[in-house]
Symmetry: C2
Subunit: 217 residues, 2 copies
Amino acid sequence: MAGRQARKGGPQRASGPALWASVGARVRDRERKRDAVIMTAARAFRERGYHNTSLDDIASELNVTKPTVYHYVENKEQLLFECFRAGLKLIMDGIEEQQDSQATARERLAAVIARYAEAITSDFGWCMVQAENQDLSPAMSRKVKALKSEIDQGMRHLLKEGQLDGSIRKCDPKITAFALAGALNWIAYWYRDGAGLSPADVAKTFIETFELGLRPR
Amino acid sequence: MAGRQARKGGPQRASGPALWASVGARVRDRERKRDAVIMTAARAFRERGYHNTSLDDIASELNVTKPTVYHYVENKEQLLFECFRAGLKLIMDGIEEQQDSQATARERLAAVIARYAEAITSDFGWCMVQAENQDLSPAMSRKVKALKSEIDQGMRHLLKEGQLDGSIRKCDPKITAFALAGALNWIAYWYRDGAGLSPADVAKTFIETFELGLRPR
C-alpha cells in the first residue's frame, strides 16, 4: 500500500530506506494473501475432498476472483502441494529447532511427536496424509515423496541417536519410524475439531504410549 | 460335480448321505471359486487401484467371462467390500481366538497385533485401508464403518482388560487404540512384498515398540 502511494503521489518523494520498507510491506502483504489462499484451500480440501473442490470455490470463499487465486498458485494441484508443504513445514521446523538442543534424543523425539500431532490435527492434516492419493502428476508425486522422505529420515536419525546416547532402547529405526509416522498420520482419519480432545491431549497420550510402552514399569 | 452327475445319470441312484455329500462338495466348490474371485480382485485393486480396475480385468485374469464374476458378486463395489471384509475377518478371527485364552490381556493384544500386521501385509491390506477413500455409496460406507468399529472396540476392550488384570499400564484406551490401529493400518502404505522384511518381522518390531516403549527399561 505504502509503495503504491509513493509511486502514485508525484509530489511525495520516497527516500531509499522508506522505499525499501514499502517493498518489504508489499512482499509481506503478498505473503499474507498467499497464506490465506493456502489456508482456505486446506480447509476446503479437508471438508469436501480435493476432487470435490474447485478453484472457483476457493476464490468465492475468499471473496476474490479466480484470476486473483491464479496470481498465487499455477493450478489446483500446486495448491494441494502448497497445503501439503505448509503442513510438513510445521514438522520440519520442529525437527530443526531440536538440532541445537542439549536434550537427549528421546526428549527431542517427543518434541517432534508433539509438533507432528499438532500439524496433523490442523487443517493441513488432510492434505498431508491424502495428497498422494489424489492422482497427482508424476512430477508432483515425486516432490511429495521427497519431502515425506525428509521427515522419515529425520525420525530415523533421532531413533539412531537415542540408541547412541542411551536414551532409546535398542530398536530397528526404520520399522519404528514407520510405526510412529503411521500412528501420527492416522490422526487425520479420526480426529475431529471440537470433539472434546485437544491436539495437546492427543500428543501427550502418543508420547506416553511410545515412550513408556503398554507394559507396566 | 458329483451332484451334477447324480442328476444327469439316470441309472445311477444317489443314496441320501451321498447326495448330501455332493451338495456339500458343490457348496465348497462355489466357495473356493468365490474366494478366488475375491483374492484376484484384492491383488488387482492393490496393484492398480480400485478405479483403474474393471470387472473385465478381473474376469480376464481368472480366465472366465464377466457374467461368471457376476455370479459371485453383484458389482465392483460389492467386490471391494468383500475384499475389505475378508481382510478384516483375519483380524476378527484373531480377536475371537483369544477370547477363551488364559493369557493376560497384554499377551492377547500382542497376538491380535500379530494377526493385524499379517492381514495388512497381505493382498487384502490395500482394500482394508483404502476402501473408505473410494467414493463408496452411503450404504456401503456405513457397512465399512460398522466393521471397522468392531475391530476398534475389540482393541479398546483388550486395553481396558489389561488395566484391570494389571498387565497394561494405565492409559486412555480410545487414543491408544487409535495409535495402535494407525501404526498398523499405515503398513499398507509402505510395506512391499519381497523387500527383505517378512510380515513376522514387522509384527515383532511393532509388538516390541508398543509393549516396551522407546525408553530403556
